[in-house]
């Protein structure tokens, strides 16, 4: 059923903030089910606004968002999305285990214990099970953030710069988790500043600037289209055009 409809469909999505800033303007995007889609763009391009709109964290000015064919505000659509935000936003009162259990509960899981243990093991947090989020190291918090996003087995996982500010070892580790997730059939929308990350992981890359999608293709397709050899040059050309 989910293979027949796009994982994410944005039509004419516009977001103007109260101060008049136009973050997204008539934005159209369709991401097929099972895809690994990367969204690249400079700071302020509208990436995080787009993600927040999909996840019901900003009020959309106009346009339509559908997740596997359902309006994004609907309860089923919400339950199909898993979000790992760029900034660490873990509940300071909860331990690692509680963070996962409560997230699962909010997302309708009746028996979240087994899944929480599975993720604690998968993300190497066994020894931190009963430690509260503020007492974790930066890397452990980043892993917990990703584990939380996956807790309720979402069909569409949105990762907003998941490796921003992390060291090389953790970045490789996170890439491994993300690749495995994609191999299991999960659709992934990734925003990143790291071009090599997008090239390494994504089937398709969208370039966003000033709230508009200016190009989308595979890394190879983008290089051919812009007539350059490196994705870095694609980015420079696209953002300058």
């Amino acid at each position: 059923m989910f293979r027949d409809v796009p994982a994410l469909e944005l039509r004419g999505l516009t977001k103007r903030y109260d101060d008049g800033t136009m973050a997204l303007e008539e934005f159209d995007l369709q991401i097929p089910s099972g895809a690994f889609f990367g969204l690249l763009g400079p700071n302020g391009a509208g990436k995080t606004t787009l993600i927040s709109a999909v996840c019901n964290l900003v009020r959309v000015t106009s346009g339509e968002i559908r997740v596997f064919g359902e309006p994004h505000q609907s309860l089923p659509a919400r339950s199909w999305i898993g979000l790992a935000e760029q900034d660490i936003n873990l509940d300071r009162f909860l331990t690692v285990r509680e963070t996962l259990l409560y997230h699962g509960g909010y997302f309708g899981m009746r028996e979240p214990d087994e899944r929480a243990e599975e993720l604690i093991t998968a993300f190497g947090l066994e020894h931190k099970r009963d430690v509260r989020a503020p007492k974790l190291s930066g890397g452990q918090r980043r892993r917990l953030l990703l584990a939380r996003a996956l807790m309720h087995r979402p069909r569409l996982v949105i990762l907003d710069e998941p490796t921003a500010g992390v060291d090389f070892e953790l970045r490789m580790e996170l890439w491994r988790y993300i690749r495995q997730l994609h191999a299991e059939g999960t659709t992934i929308l990734l925003t990143t500043h790291y071009l090599e990350e997008a090239e390494e992981l994504c089937d398709e890359i969208g370039l966003i600037r000033d709230g508009r999608l200016i190009a989308r293709d595979s890394a190879e397709g983008l290089r051919t289209h812009f007539g350059v050899e490196r994705l870095q040059d694609v980015y420079v050309k696209a953002m300058a055009s």
Binding site: N56, L90, Y106, G108
Partner: protein, 251 residues
């Protein structure tokens, strides 16, 4: 409904984890009021309306402790969740706005009841406070807790700094409680202070709770319940509206 249950659990877990701050401290401070005021002033005032002074002040002190706790709990819980942005976990979850409103309200109610029940037991042991009208007491407490829990949610959503949340507690709720007849009957006040007391919403809540405990109050129980309900309903609706529209929660 699973999401609502877990949000209620989270809000009550927070109260339980911080029990020395959230329950013990307010109980100790209210008991000190009963002991200090009851012992020091009780010898001079003896009775108010035929009731021993140390018994007379118990309903007002319980009301004050519960309302402050209900408000402070929700204001700080929501503000912290907004400040650290972990409220996103709830706002993006497949929960209806009424479930989120109710879930956050429950935390304040739970904390206030923990304080109220503790104070009731201690006050019964210390000064033998009776419960003459249990139905009126339960109704008054329920309405008061909905009012102040919802007010905490609203302020927690609008607040931009911690100072905003404490400003309402210290500059609005506490003074209104003190002049709302917690320590005295407003009948003894000279004009215009007696009349002015009738514009204080906490005066009606204190009197409704006092009626539940002692079977008597300065104004009709129906008026007291009516005023409290007349405030509780719109304030709860306001908190519900904020979660429904996302105003102040979603940019």
């Amino acid at each position: 409904m699973t999401g609502l249950v877990w949000l209620c659990r989270r809000e009550t877990l927070r109260v339980s984890k911080l029990w020395t701050q959230t329950v013990l401290a307010p109980v100790v401070s209210s008991i000190l009021f009963i002991l200090v005021f009851g012992l020091s002033l009780g010898g001079r005032i003896r009775e108010v309306g035929g009731v021993d002074y140390e018994v007379f002040i118990v309903p007002g002190l319980i009301t004050m402790g519960m309302t402050q706790a209900a408000y402070a709990n929700n204001a700080s819980s929501i503000f912290q969740a907004r400040f650290d942005r972990y409220i996103h976990d709830v706002l993006s979850a497949p929960m209806r706005p009424w479930q989120v409103t109710l879930g956050y309200t429950v935390g304040g109610v739970f904390r206030a009841l923990a304080i109220g029940c503790s104070l009731l037991v201690l006050a019964a042991l210390l000064v033998g406070v009776p419960v003459e009208r249990p139905f009126a007491l339960v109704t008054a407490v329920a309405l008061g807790l909905v009012l102040f829990s919802a007010l905490g949610v609203v302020v927690g959503i609008y607040a931009e700094t911690w100072d905003h949340t404490t400003f309402i507690a210290n500059i609005v709720i506490l003074p209104l409680a003190f002049v709302g007849g917690v320590f005295y009957s407003v009948d003894v006040l000279p004009s215009p202070w007696e009349e002015l007391s009738h514009f204080n919403p906490i005066f009606y809540l204190v009197n409704a709770v006092r009626f539940g405990f002692l079977g008597e109050s300065d104004v009709s129980i129906w008026l007291s319940l009516g005023v409290t309900a007349g405030l509780a309903v719109p304030v709860y609706a306001w908190s519900q509206w904020l979660f429904t529209t996302g105003r102040r929660l979603k940019s």
